[in-house]
Symmetry: C2
Subunit: 253 residues, 2 copies
């Protein structure tokens, strides 16, 4: 790690403990495809880090938009909350994923971002990003790519859900989660859900009871081991078959 000293012990200070160049997430984060020198400049941009404790908001709907956030560690959900207090989860974000893109549209965040466990993020002031962008075409390109990917993700994942039944949705959810965990070097088969059944439900467009029942059925079928939020995927292939099956009839005859 050439650009920065070893990770600092205290991590809530103004500086950040790992430069982009030495960050283990650089292959999943904004710096994808940037040359070392470019990465260094992006690095200067990162205004600092912020710790968000479980249950706290990184930003809330209505907040002025002035920064993007890269999740460094932890787990977030983004959601809309209607006046009467009911919420719809729009996504779950883990390390290496970007938060705050929703604010670009009109300089105001349109959803809440809540930490589901104690988390840390890199703060990337948007003004600086914009200022630096002309000098770093690769960065701008990457930013657009990330956004495009985001569009595809929603577009893909969510739209597909439209044509799936409950079991298939839950299978898709678990399979997606497993894939993302694996990409980050975590076990794709054994993990702890950071969100409640209710949150999964509103994300998938299902009732919490239905989600619970799906978990139970998978357990009964030997596909999954479930103990509350501890999940062990026994037969990932089976889950993926379910997903594929559901996509297939897509719009069915």
């Amino acid at each position: 790690m050439p650009a920065s000293p070893a990770p600092l012990p205290g991590c809530t200070g103004p500086g950040h403990d790992a430069a982009c160049a030495s960050c283990s997430l650089r292959e999943l984060c904004l710096p994808v495809g940037l040359a070392n020198e470019e990465m260094a400049r992006l690095d200067e941009l990162v205004a600092g880090r912020r710790a968000v404790r479980r249950g706290e908001a990184l930003f809330r709907r209505g907040d002025a938009f002035h920064a993007l956030y890269a999740v460094r560690a932890g787990f977030f959900k983004t959601s809309y909350t209607s006046e009467d207090g009911r919420e719809r989860v729009t996504g779950f974000q883990m390390a290496g994923e970007l938060l705050g893109l929703d604010g670009l549209a009109d300089d105001t965040h349109r959803c809440d971002a809540i930490a589901l466990e104690d988390s840390r993020v890199c703060v990337i002031p948007y003004a600086s990003l914009e200022a630096l962008s002309p000098a770093l075409p690769a960065l701008q390109r990457q930013l657009l790519r990330v956004m495009s990917r985001e569009i595809m993700r929603e577009h893909g994942a969510m739209m597909q859900l439209g044509g799936m039944r409950a079991e298939e949705r839950v299978a898709a959810f678990l399979s997606d989660l497993a894939g993302r965990l694996q990409a980050r070097g975590f076990s794709p088969s054994s993990f702890v859900l950071r969100m409640t059944r209710q949150e999964i439900g509103t994300y998938l467009g299902l009732q919490l009871e239905t989600v619970s029942r799906c978990f139970s059925r998978f357990r009964d079928e030997g596909v999954l081991e479930v103990k509350q939020r501890d999940i062990r995927i026994v037969d990932l292939a089976a889950l993926q078959r379910l997903v594929a099956g559901g996509q297939d009839w897509g719009t069915r005859a």
Copy 2:
């Protein structure tokens, strides 16, 4: 219209008949918020126009990505098609809306864009856009905004659908359509659907029969007049109440 002569009679030539500055869609299209001089430069970028006849593809999944398209007139759908020929519609685009953003992620289009009526688009080569971008921060900003909006649109519209029942989805669909038509100076209450019930269905995650039944029910309730694809919205407020109601219980108890 200072910059260009009146719309030319023949419109399939290499040039385009209305410069961005004089285009009636400039408030809805990429040029939003650009100064006149900036618009002129964007204008130079537009490599030309392309006519796409009903049923033809503007681009298909797998096509190399090299341009964005602004719909100048007409109506498109974007969709994924699985191997067995079933398709899922991911969106409908009308004049002033951008197509092709899906290709940014990895330089390959990930969905099909099909004209639902004879249409014309402005072709904006992405290489030029990227090259010009550093000199036109406002343009870049606008591009990001459009993408952010797109994300919110999907995220918003689609996610909401997750928690809605069939009637509410169809109401949301019609109400959204009415709003977009109005923004373009068309009648928001009387219009012709350019897509089939099936396409609406796959877009909303419903069966075509269910869509048809919803139309019929709305007709019976005096909310709508339906004659095949001719639609007249009699009571828009009622539709909007349905949508709001559906969002409210959002994730229900």
